[in-house]
């Protein structure tokens, strides 16, 4: 139940509901989208970006907060640790225990490699766990990998590395099959046909889901499989620096126990960075839908060891983060809510856009509605627009919400809002790191030997904006791919003398570039104590 301040606007939304359900809003033209993004999307705010002064991407702009971390000092000096005192000695070291890391570990294990996972929180504490809406794959008769390719390439502003995108779409059906064989419960009709819906910017209904716990269902199954295979998982242990050998090839990582600060050496023939995203950096002061550890660690580790970034200047702001109540401010409201028929409605009850534009366009449109157009709803702590969830029950029949999006119903229910009967308030939230480390199609980085990357830490698969459902897909496709290739490569690697010389070399570059800093990285966790930053 909403308080009095919202009632006038809710009345307007209710009065217009029938007409709004019938309405088929126009989609924007390419030109309209370009103009909208340039004026309202956070990626286009020039003064929020800073130029990297040194390192592999010298001269390129990245968000200010990321620039500080990329140019920061290491948490250690080379002589803080004895590299001859090796605690873990493996073929493949996977850094990160989310969807990409676990997929990689399972495949490396399948290939016979000695593999381990190091993760700074628990296995499964990852954005994968929180992905609600679904996973794309062109497996219906009216669809094809080629159509999927065009949707994703256009949605990403024609900037994706085509060989990566092509792998993503062509391996998608097999990824779904692999997950099914592991026991992931996809929503199906009685005859086994997958229940699929649209996502923003898709031209075919190819979103596969497990209610609105899609990522959680995938993540808990992958986690269970890692445990069944008895792959060693060292949890609450962060990688804080890559270890190279004398040839400059990746050869392991310095690990730090998050609770005792003990440092350990993990030596490996190949290393896979699967550390995920960066929502907890709160770029431009945005709230985030991301998990607690999303602090761009992998980008920092890779960059300092010489790996290049691609599109690190592009972030995804999910159009529908929670704007009210404030206890769940910034939490994700899955795009599936719009896939099921709910439209975006302003303070006056007017539908102001097609609900399934791509995420960047939708986010910019909501920001415009709340700022220059003055049609936002004042939540008491900010602005938002309505997402008219009761439409779903009218379109799909009573019970649709409980069956298809139970997590959303539960989350708002905690605060006395019944989304079957009342609309909800949303505003964009920092959701996804489009850019990341630059990789080849085999998952290896383009310029550091024996270093692989998978998942959200990769840049270039999606271009400059990602479609809904292509991230759960990418962690599976490129996670497995990295695991397979890193395991194969490990067979032919002889690790040389371990070295942390790159730390001092990086310090020297910093000094030569005239950059002074007190910052250390990777960040590992955000600091919310005493109400710093935003939860």
């Amino acid at each position: 139940m909403y308080s009095e301040q919202f009632q006038k606007s809710i009345k307007a939304v209710e009065a217009a509901r029938e007409a709004n359900i019938a309405l088929e809003p126009d989609r924007m033209t390419a030109k309209q989208k370009e103009d909208l993004l340039a004026a309202y999307h956070p990626d286009y705010k020039k003064d929020e970006f800073e130029t990297l002064k040194f390192g592999p991407n010298k001269g390129q702009e990245v968000p200010r907060e990321l620039c500080e971390l990329l140019q920061a000092k290491s948490r250690i000096k080379a002589d803080d640790i004895d590299l001859n005192d090796v605690t873990y000695d493996v073929d493949v070291l996977v850094i990160g225990g989310g969807g990409a890391g676990t997929s990689a570990a399972i495949e490396a294990h399948e290939a016979g490699a000695k593999v381990m996972i190091a993760t700074k929180l628990r296995m499964g504490d990852a954005n994968t766990m929180m992905a609600e809406g679904g996973i794309q794959a062109a497996d219906k008769p009216n669809d094809s990998p080629a159509i999927h390719f065009v949707d994703a390439f256009g949605g990403g502003h024609f900037a994706a590395k085509r060989e990566l995108l092509s792998k993503l779409v062509c391996d998608a059906p097999e990824a779904i099959q692999w997950l099914s064989n592991l026991g992931v419960e996809f929503d199906k009709e009685a005859d086994g046909t997958m229940v699929t819906t649209h996502g923003g910017g898709t031209s075919r209904k190819r979103m596969h889901a497990a209610k609105d716990y899609s990522g959680a269902e995938i993540m808990r199954t992958l986690r269970d499989e890692v445990l069944n295979r008895q792959i060693p998982v060292v949890d609450f242990t962060a990688a804080i620096e890559l270890i190279l050998d004398e040839k400059g090839n990746a050869a392991g990582a310095v690990l730090m126990n998050m609770e005792t600060n003990e440092l350990m050496v993990a030596k490996a023939k190949t290393v896979i960075i699967a550390t995920g995203g960066a929502g907890r950096m709160h770029y431009q002061g945005f709230p985030t839908s991301n998990h607690y550890g999303a602090t761009a660690d992998g980008l920092v580790l890779g960059y300092r060891a010489g790996a290049k970034l691609l599109y690190a200047e592009t972030l995804q702001y999910h159009p529908t983060g929670v704007a009210y109540p404030e206890q769940i401010f910034g939490a994700l409201v899955t795009e599936k809510v719009r896939s099921l028929g709910a439209k975006l409605v302003n303070v006056n009850g007017d539908v102001f856009m097609h609900p399934l534009e791509t995420r960047d366009v939708s986010a910019a449109s909501i920001i415009r509605e709340c700022t220059d157009r003055g049609n936002g709803v004042d939540t008491g702590s900010g602005l938002g627009v309505w997402l008219d969830t009761p439409m779903i029950e009218k379109i799909g029949g009573e019970g649709t919400i409980e069956k298809r999006i139970p997590a959303m119903m539960r989350m708002f229910g905690q605060y006395g809002i019944d989304i079957r009967k009342e609309p909800i308030l949303v505003f964009p939230t920092l959701h996804y790191q489009n850019g990341g480390l630059d990789i080849n199609v085999d998952g290896s980085t383009t310029n550091v030997e024996n270093l692989y990357v998978a998942g959200e830490a990769v840049g270039g698969i999606h271009g400059k904006n990602r479609l809904m459902g292509n991230s759960l897909l990418d962690i599976i496709v490129f996670g497995r791919n990295a695991g397979q290739n890193a395991a194969a490569k490990a067979k032919n690697v002889t690790v040389g003398k371990l070295s942390l010389d790159h730390i001092a070399a990086f310090d020297k570059e910093r000094a030569a570039a005239g950059v002074e800093t007190d910052a250390v990285s990777p960040k590992l966790l955000p600091d919310y104590t005493n109400r710093k930053n935003r939860a």
Binding site: D139, A146, S289
Partner: protein, 224 residues
């Protein structure tokens, strides 16, 4: 001036704003969380928490990230609970009642106290899904337990020593792999891709100038 309440973190009193969740209240009090904090959105089960309101005998359980503080709330977090997770090979397992008997025989020692259901942070009917597991009805067990975040509170309250979330995990995997209907269009598409059916189409897209791809994208037909 915002409204404040008194809470007791592990018995120690703190005054915090009344609109915070238990998790943000701990941070407000100065805790830098490492354990007991994961997704912060109710999906990962890292922040299982038990509490009592002063004067009320009932012990309640919740997720710290999804629950607002109340005045005189006595709070203890449960960042880890030693669940029993049996190891099995999904390829060799059979979807029969005997599987549960072999891996998790303690479920047959359930005394029917319903403490698991009463304590579930997701308000699931935990005892019911264990009953389904006892009977080998994996489909119903999977459905009933689907929203489980594996926080472990149920198991902490169980006199029979059952690890409910792990039992449900096994049931869901068996259901997903062996009992749910197969998917013909998926298998057909995987075969088509392996046979190279789309190679030419994809290759053409790989070579096309960006301008042509823009045209293709902007004029594509969108399924209703």
């Amino acid at each position: 001036m915002e409204k404040m309440v008194n809470i007791f973190l592990f018995g120690k009193k703190y005054e915090v704003p009344a609109n915070l969740t238990i998790m943000t209240a701990m941070e407000y009090a100065g805790y830098q969380l490492v354990r007991g904090c994961g997704c912060r959105n109710g999906f990962c089960g890292a922040c299982a928490t038990v509490y009592r309101i002063k004067g009320d005998k009932e012990l309640k359980a919740c997720l710290a990230c999804q629950t607002q503080v109340e005045d005189n709330m006595y709070i203890a977090t449960l960042p880890f609970f030693p669940l029993v997770k049996e190891v099995y090979d999904m390829e060799k397992i059979t979807p029969s009642e005997a599987v549960m008997m072999q891996l998790y025989p303690e479920i047959y020692a359930c005394v029917g106290c319903n403490a698991c259901t009463k304590s579930c942070t997701q308000e699931l009917n935990v005892m019911q899904y264990i009953a389904y597991a006892q009977r080998g009805d994996f489909e119903k067990c999977a459905e009933e337990s689907f929203d489980c975040v594996m926080c472990g509170v149920c198991s902490s309250r169980c006199p029979a020593g059952i690890s409910h979330p792990q039992v449900a995990m096994l049931a869901r995997r068996i259901n997903g792999k062996y009992l749910a209907p197969g998917c013909e269009h998926l298998d057909a598409r995987v075969k088509e891709i392996k046979d190279g059916t789309f190679n030419e189409l994809i290759e053409a897209l790989m070579q096309k100038p960006v301008e042509e791809l823009k045209e293709l994208y902007n004029t594509r037909e969108i399924e209703k």
